[in-house]
Symmetry: C2
Subunit: 127 residues, 2 copies
Amino acid sequence: MNELKDLTAAEWKIMRIVWEERKAMTREVYTIAMERHGWSPATVKTLLRRIIDKGYLSATKIGNGFLYRPAKSSIAVVGGAVRSLLDNAVDGTGPVLAQLVETTPLSQKDLDILQNMIDQKRKEQKP
Amino acid sequence: MNELKDLTAAEWKIMRIVWEERKAMTREVYTIAMERHGWSPATVKTLLRRIIDKGYLSATKIGNGFLYRPAKSSIAVVGGAVRSLLDNAVDGTGPVLAQLVETTPLSQKDLDILQNMIDQKRKEQKP
DNA sequence: CCAATATGTTGACATTTGTAAACGATTCGT
DNA sequence: ACGAATCGTTTACAAATGTCAACATATTGG
């Protein structure tokens, strides 16, 4: 319902940290962001606030500050972003997905999952 | 070699038009952009110049103006953008790809292409 | 050849994004 | 209870992006 504004490049990096930690306080986030991107605590604080505003993180007050947790799974958000990019694929999503599968390292298990997904899709299409 | 700067949202829309037309002059592009997004010719001109600067379009002078053509295929550019997004998928690319296949409408042909890609991947993995 | 038309270029301006310091409120250690 | 450490909030500012008008120039129809 709520129109989610897209994440910016810097915001993605912060989201990734929170997704990895599953939940984290400001301190945790900016410690990691410091090592990983050399960002100052102030920068991280600003980004966290903006992400909250966009609705990708939820925060609950704990003691001094907040505990942040993802408002949506990374699969959902990344998947959504990718899907919106795929709309730019003039030659169709098929070829792009193929190129992706081709150039991405996938485990045997990943391949099985994809295989199943495709088989199922096929059935649904022939009722 | 040349570090391509990312396209912005508005630039993607212009690129899509040129990819569709395969080649086009300014007039063509902004006529379509006008219908599709309500953009003024001036806006389109600016965007075209910026995209040229970023290296996603090449232009050859023809008569009064320029003939633009994509410097790279949409599959390559879109694929690249998607791959870079997938790096944000904490849970692994496998699940995201699965979710994508699941939620994207795919033609029978698309499914075949994917099927092939997967079969091939499997072979490569069992030497 | 000249007026009408179409193009590229330049300049502009509001908004968003990247990056961060400073300040005031809050909490914690002792 | 009080000073030290921490947090969130406010403010700032340069760069990038979204949008576009004006102008000088090139092209073309008559």
